[in-house]
Amino acid sequence: MMDSITQKAGLIAATAFGVVLVSSAVYTSVSAQGLPEGFKKGDLSPAPSAEMIEAGKRVYFTKCVWCHGVDGAGDGPGADRLWPRPRNFNQGTFKIRHTASGELPLFDAKKPIAGQNDLFETVTHGLPGSAMPPWEGILSEEQRLQVLSFVTTELVKDRKFTDKQSETQTILQLAELKPKPATDESKKRGAELIVEKKCVECHGMEGRGDGNAFNLKDDWGFSIQPANWHKCWNFRGSRQDPYNVANIFRTFSTGVNGTPMPSFADNTSVDERWDIANFVSSLCERDTLGNPLPIDPLTDKPKINFVIPSDLFEGEIPAEIEHEAWQKAPKRLVAMGGQITHKPRNFVNRIDDIWVRSLYNDKYIVYLLEWDDRTKSIAEGKLPWAPTQVNIDIKEQDPKTGEEGSIAANQNNYAVYNDAIAIETAVKWKELPAPIKPRYLFGTNDQYPMDIVKWEADGSLRAFKGTGWDKDFEERDNYEEAMKLVKSEWKNGRWYVMIQRPVGNKKDQDYDEDTFFEVGQYIPTVFFAWDGHNGDAGRKMAVSAFYYTFMNPPVPQETYIYPVVIAVGVVLLEGWVLTRRANRKKGKTL
């Protein structure tokens, strides 16, 4: 306990020192009243009524208590298996605000207005990337205000929202600040500023959140990760509108209380902040035309397409991602969840999506897999189990351990294993009429097994046969020699792995063990990913649902012939109708 307090104090001191250092070193853009540019002094909101608080208690004990706990200390039954942990309300530390760094967020029980009520918006839109869901549509507006009335008065214990002596409100006037157009010039300036303002030290050279992956802690001593700018839908403050630069501008101006993310209001002008926001927003994943990815309103994540198309490439498939064929190949987002079906379960998967592209020729199919992983992990020495072993001895997180033993406290303290990725395809998929697939995870049995190709960060590429979720893998004869690891590279928080495997044929391959890829067919495909620094190994991994690999057939000649024939037919038909009509008018009948 003593330890964590000193640690905390040290951390706060260090952060404070850092902020002072940064703000004094760089020129300050402070307005006439001594406020940072874009901010205005505001008044504290009136206290909510006793009825609101009482009604809110009922909401809290139905919906919130399960994670946030009876005393609002963020220690409910669900807390220890979550990372980030649920918010501890007691200190009054809230991340997403319109108020200056360190201040309480905006909350007024009578004003559910966007931009003027931070806590209300957090409850309404949730905090993506954490377990906090959007409560809009579940709780009425009134109920959301009630529960916040209860939280801010009864569960925030160290501070008072109405205490004029100790609390101030310095409010970012976001509604009055017009966003700067995201021109190339603005983005270029933003790109320079994120280096100058040292954003890259934590967020990484490419903004994948890999700059300082091991040492960042929040106010409660738990490891936290800098945001990955390429996944704006996971920004806590994205308010279900991830491509909106104003959200980034706000976070950057106010800082994130309770974390090492400071406010940059004092050492950047409003203009510079728009440049940075424009640049950061421009990094978020977009489609090939540069448009924002369509967001699924049910999940607030990009929409998923379960077909992974593979394009035909004549000749040897290129190893360079920059090659035109790869640039043109359709790119698909594969969503990853924690493997929580069988023990050991992975409640916190640090890999939550993979980008997949594919090309094929007459002999091979190549998958290009790219995924963000803040930590490059290669196990030191030999792993204590064979590569084929699935049933390995990894302890699963206990449900209730208290803060010290929780998943959040374990981050960065796991034994380091290999980062890894695997592509699993159904063997004999043709014998399973759609939509039937082999049983999930590693196949049904010997009769309907899975073909598993696994790459590990130690450079190995292996082929296995999976015959059931609890069966150790079987090695496949000679298959590894037929495969090729075309590329594997970790750069600035992202893995790039290119795996080539035979499309399969009855002559050289084993029908009972290898997947035969056929053009124009839907081949059930599953992806697995392991983050070595998350202690991922064996069944502790991230998994996808069943996707389909679909090798696009070359366009058959008939596609060009038949439409012309049809068009000619239509012309003839038109002629017939017109003649008939004309004849009838003349009184003739055919």
Partner: protein, 345 residues
């Protein structure tokens, strides 16, 4: 009458503007919420409102001397219905289903325009006019059709023949028939006769009425009854077990089924089929408690053969939880959603 019709016209215009906004993506299609579970009936109501609005609109325009010919009315209504299906419905309906609805509504439109011989004549008059090409405008139109029709039809068939990789439509069995009995942790439970041992009254007797009186209230938020807080330390019996079930739920199940049991948990977006939504009247509200006990214990891997495609990632919870814990979670799910379990009779 006139005022009524003007009101109808107003509704029609407002509705059209709203739909137009949705088509052009100015108004999000969730602007008017589709209530979960009541979507079909809401859709019918909305379309009925539109029809009333259109009647009013047509009447008003008629009175103003700007009557729309029957021909355009028919086409307009059909186009409206197609747009409505495509842009208003959420979650989106697959194209095949929309095509079916489109065909049915086309037939309906034809029936409407050919209700009487006179109507039918009026309807086909514009077509005949173009065929006869008596005026200059019609002549131009006729040549336009002559050229455009083959090009369009050829283009469509080219598009249709281009190889595509669309997601195959996957049917699945939502609630497979349960077995007569299930064996969990070495003990056999007959589904028809087993009871949740924690659904008890203060005397410790199985009592569904008592528990039904203590579940959350239906309506927005589904909040607990004011005097039935499971977190009250003085609780004994049912509410204490609900709380214990909730603790297990929030340590194991919410990752997929969500903090509000609506199937939108942390990992839910990665899985297909998406996790069950217990607040939907089509899931646990329709099923018996022992059915849930069987599904929870055996998970996706324990689905019977007809329960394909077996892609469910639902864990066989007997691997993780004791029998008592499973019963308590089931108890909690009914408490939290405010549904009564169905009985076998």
């Amino acid at each position: 009458m006139k005022a009524l019709m003007s009101l109808g016209a107003l509704i029609g215009v407002a509705g059209l503007l709203l739909l137009g906004g949705m088509v052009l993506d100015v108004v999000p299609s969730t602007y008017i919420r589709l209530v979960e579970g009541y979507m079909p009936i809401q859709m019918l109501l909305e379309v009925a409102c539109y029809v009333i609005g259109f009647t009013g609109l047509s009447y008003t325009l008629n009175a103003m001397g700007m009557a729309i010919p029957r021909f355009w009315q028919g086409i307009g209504f059909w186009v409206f219905f197609l747009l409505y299906l495509k842009y208003r419905m959420y979650p989106p309906i697959p194209f095949s289903v929309r095509a079916m609805y489109g065909t049915v509504s086309l037939v309906a439109v034809f029936m409407w325009v050919s209700a009487s011989e006179e109507d039918w004549q009026k309807f086909k008059q514009p077509i005949m006019n173009v065929l006869d090409a008596q005026t200059g405008g019609n002549r131009i139109l006729r040549y336009l059709y002559l050229v455009l029709l083959p090009i369009l039809i050829g283009g469509f068939s080219f598009n249709a023949m281009m190889p595509k990789s669309e997601e195959p439509i996957e049917l699945r069995t939502v609630h497979p028939a349960p077995p007569a009995s299930t064996k969990v942790h070495g003990k056999t439970y007959t589904l028809q006769t087993s009871q949740n041992p924690y659904r008890v009254n203060p005397e410790g007797k199985y009592d569904q009425e008592f528990s039904n009186a203590n579940i959350v209230e239906q309506g927005m938020g589904r909040l607990m009854k004011p005097n039935a807080n499971p977190w009250d330390d003085k609780n004994q019996g049912y509410l204490k077990y609900v709380r214990e079930g909730g603790e297990i739920f929030f340590q194991n199940c919410h990752f997929c089924h969500g903090d509000n049991l609506n199937g939108r948990g942390l990992h839910a977006f990665a899985f297909n089929p998406i996790p069950a939504n217990f607040t939907d009247p089509g899931t646990i509200a329709q099923l018996q408690e022992t059915f849930i006990f069987w599904r929870v214990s055996k998970g996706g891997i324990g689905l019977p053969n007809e329960g394909f495609p077996w892609a469910s990632v639902m864990p066989p919870w007997e691997q993780h939880l004791t029998v008592d814990e499973i019963w308590k979670v089931v108890l909690f799910e009914y408490w939290h959603t405010g549904y009564y379990p169905r009985t076998w009779d």
